[in-house]
Each structure stands twice: as C-alpha cells, then as structure tokens.
Symmetry: C2
Subunit: 262 residues, 2 copies
DNA sequence: CGGCTGCTTGAACTTGTTCAACAGCGGTGG
DNA sequence: CCACCGCTGTTGAACAAGTTCAAGCAGCCG
C-alpha cells in the first residue's frame, strides 16, 4: 500500500531496511480516506498538519476573483502535501481530490525525528522538494512559451514519467483520471480547446485513451512534440552523485528552502 | 547601501540592533559588481555559493530548445539568490543582470551561524522563501488565466509593492529598467504585444513612463485591472502574528522547503 | 556621422475563446 | 424496467486575442 512512497523516495537515494521501517512507522499516523472531487484545503484555510498522499491523485489550484481557475500542480502518490499550512499562515491556494485518495497526517515531531535519525531519508525528502520546485519552473515555462498542443503533450510526458518512477505504468499504459476541464485548467486553455488538443494528439497517433486509462503510443515523438527535457525529472542522478557529501545539518534545510523558492 | 536588505527583512519581522549588526557582518563577504545584461548563472552551471542581491535588478529565465525564453521571476535588492546551486546539482535555469548590480557571496557557515544565533533573522529568511513561492504561484495563475493586459498590470503592481517594501518608491514613482522584451518574456507574450499592452495602460491613464522611471497614476484602478490581490504580498502580517510561536529548530527548515516547493 | 538598441505601427495571419447544441454514459428514482 | 438527470466529451461557427513580418522612428554612443 505504501509502495508508491517508498518507490518515490528510493528514486532519489538508496534506502536501507531501517529507513523503510522508519517510513512504515511514520505512516502509521492518522489516515484519511477522501472521495473524488473533495476540497481538502480551501484558499484561506489554516492548517497545522504535515501530510503525505499515499494513494490517489490531487490537484493544487488557485482562483482569480472572477472565477477563473488555474491548476498549479498535480499531486501523485508519494507526494508531500500541505506543509504550507504548517506555518500557521493562511493557504493562498486550494487542494482538491481528483480521484478517491488516501492521505496520512504526520506530526512535526515525527518529521523532526526522521531528520535527526536518518540522513538518507532526510536527503530524499530534500530531493522531493527540489524536484517540486523544478516542476513549477517547468510549468511556468510551459504556460509562458509552449503552445497548447506542446503544453498538453508536456503534461502527459510529465505524468507518465512521474508515474513510471513510482511503478505505476506498465507497457506505456497509465491511469489518467483527469477530465478535460482539469487538463484545460492545468495547461491554461478552455475546456473546449483542451478537447481539441487531446484529440489532435490522438489523431497524430501519439496517445490512445480508453476510459480513465491512457496509453503512450510513441514516447520519443511525444517528447519531441512537447519539447520535453527529461533532465529536470532526474534530480536523483544529480543528487546521487553528491550523496557522499558531508552532512550539513541545518544548512541543508535552508538550501532546500531556497531551492524550492524558484 | 545595505538598506534594501534590511528593509526587506524588517518587513517580515522586527530586527534588533544585534540582528542588524549580524547582517552587516554577513554582508562583509566577497562582493561582486556586475554590469547590466550579464549572465550570472547559465543553465547547467554548478555553483556552491549562497548570494544576496544587494543592488540592482536581475531576472531568472529558462529556455526552450528552440530559443523561446521565459522569465521566471524578477530579483530585486534584498533578494536571496543562487541557493539552487548550493546543492551541487546543475542549475535548470539561468540568472541574468538587468541593470548594473551588486551581489555578495555568503558562505554556508555564515548562514548556519545566523540560523543558530538569531531566531528572528532565521524567521525573516524563512518568510522570504514563503514569499517567493507565493510569487511563483501567482505567476502561474497569471500566465494561465490572466489576459496579457491583466498580466502586465499585475507585473507592475507586484514590482511596485515589492519596491515599496524596500523603500524604493516615492510618490508612486519607481525605477523600471525592464525593456519591453523582458516584459514580454515575463508575461509570456511577444515583444510587439508587450508594447501594445504597455501603451494601452498608458493611454488608459494608469501609468506614465519616462526613461527608466515609471509612475503609477491610479494604483487602485491598476490593481483592479490586474485582478491584483495584495494578500499574497503580505506574508509578514500572517507571520508576525505567530512570531511568538515556540522555535522548532530543524522543523522550520523543512517547512520552508515544502512551502517554497509550491 | 553611422550603427546600435529599443520603441512603435500596420496588416495579414494563427491560435485559442465563446456560445450553443448534441451525444454517450452511468446513476437514480419512479 | 424505463425515464430522466447531470457530467463529460464532441462539434461548428463566429469572434477575440496574440503573433509575425516588415518597416520606420528616436535616442544614444563612439
């Protein structure tokens, strides 16, 4: 059940058995089962829990006063959530479930314990944050410079590889529970146009959809269509190479912070 | 000379004289004077210095293979830079000077010392990171949902308030060294369209430009035009209210990281 | 003076939006 | 069981927004 999280973190650094057990322990916390289309966090909420997404898909989103809504990112199993709330400052964006999901609350104390006892886990968490900030820069680039077709192809590549890394693809087939409304919100176009663009990718023989499954028919071509650069997904390689570096205690976390700040 | 930085940090939390002295000390590090239009960091560079922007304007930017370029954020005096490089992982985006600038290198040791000795300064740094991540979410929303005119007005509001907070506006006049090419890169439109949109704002009596100065003629109206929500700029208020909270050592930095990760 | 950079303009074109209608499907209640 | 509803996906046509190309202009610097 918690494989996604373990796979996710393992993709950044090798975890020992002790690390894995520590994770199991961490996730024994309060567990929430959430239906699809539920609002987990509203703009303005104050939260004080740290959470992990164990199962299901969520999206972060932010509204304009007049109702226009942008999807900021898609959260997949193994992702870290809601730390924004842990500052006791009001959230400036919302979090909504796309599918049925399972979320686990973790206390600050638990996280701190991990930071102190398992440098590798700490490092892996750190990498997740670097990764997320790289993702958000990639989205900025997409929204600002790519065409709708490129953005759509890029979104699919991103999701494909992220799912791949947590062992949730097989033979180029992946879950794809996003409605065209959500796709439109993510790539910054109207629902109607999202439809036409998806259709275009299907007609071009790049993808195939059946229900809530999506099959990538020609990944290299899809990546070229998207001007997709897989480097940014491979934080782990860059980081692995330096994993022998001396541990830097607090400095670590300052670094993460800054990195993540775009 | 270092007033911008002090003003910036003070806007988040009240600094004692000791804090100010610690800052002065911090900034006695290696100092770089940079001309306008210089590349400080290239995509792919590996850096290991932490830096502060003391004077001048910079921009972060990211290229697509075919040359299209998106500005990711504008850095103003007092901003934190380049921590991305401190991970020894390759930068996934570039950093370029817009005006003549002054940048100071800071060692990891110095930052760590601050974290250990001055909870207030630590808190203020933390707030800067939260702020930066809120900014990047706001940019995502802009690029995805606002029209070019709204985005342009929003950019001007953002810069106006950020400059205001470091004492660099007076009577609604601010420096505005951005060429229309950079404005276009930031709001995701062509240079030609950036020109027409700026012109439109001028004709509407919202702003006035003269050389590299810009005067905001009707701030409330400009903000309405931009669908500008000033909440996100006021991290400090949210944070001030909790500044008596018990210090949480390492947890702090994990929080920053996550927050900043969008 | 010439050459450069940045700003401005017009006109044709491409991309994406909006509105409106309809089809398919699963669920629900009678 | 069927009728109906709401949600998602699909389509066409008119329209609005932004791009591209091409030219010209203004100011600045050597």
């Amino acid at each position: 059940m918690y494989n996604a999280l373990i796979n996710r973190l393992s993709s950044f650094t090798e975890l020992s058995n002790t690390d894995r057990e520590a994770l199991q322990e961490l996730l024994r916390g309060r567990c929430h089962v959430v239906d699809a289309n539920q609002q987990l966090v509203n703009d303005g909420d104050r939260l004080d829990a740290v959470r992990f997404l164990v199962e299901g898909w969520l999206c972060r989103h932010k509204y304009l006063e007049d109702g226009r809504c942008q999807v900021l990112s898609i959260c997949l199993p193994g992702d870290l959530l809601d730390l924004v709330g842990s500052n006791s400052s009001a959230a400036d964006h919302g979090l909504r479930s796309i599918t049925n999901s399972v979320v686990v609350d973790i206390t600050c104390r638990q996280v701190e314990a991990i930071l102190l006892t398992s440098p590798r886990l700490a490092r892996a968490l750190h990498c997740m944050l670097i990764f997320q900030s790289a993702l958000s820069r990639e989205w900025l680039l997409s929204l600002g410079q790519r065409t709708a077709r490129e953005r759509c192809a890029h979104l699919i590549c991103e999701l494909y590889w992220r799912l791949h890394d947590i062992g949730m693809t097989s033979d180029f087939v992946m879950d794809f529970p996003l409605t065209q409304e959500v796709v439109g919100g993510a790539i910054g176009v109207s629902t109607v146009h999202a439809n036409r663009v998806m259709q275009d990718l299907r007609l071009a023989g790049l993808i195939e959809q059946c229900g809530k499954k999506l099959k990538v028919l020609d990944l290299p071509l899809l990546e070229r269509t998207a001007l997709f650069n897989s480097d940014f997904l491979h934080v782990e390689q860059l980081v692995r190479s330096t994993r022998e570096a001396p541990q830097q205690s607090k400095m670590w976390w300052l670094l993460s912070s800054a990195v993540a700040g775009c």
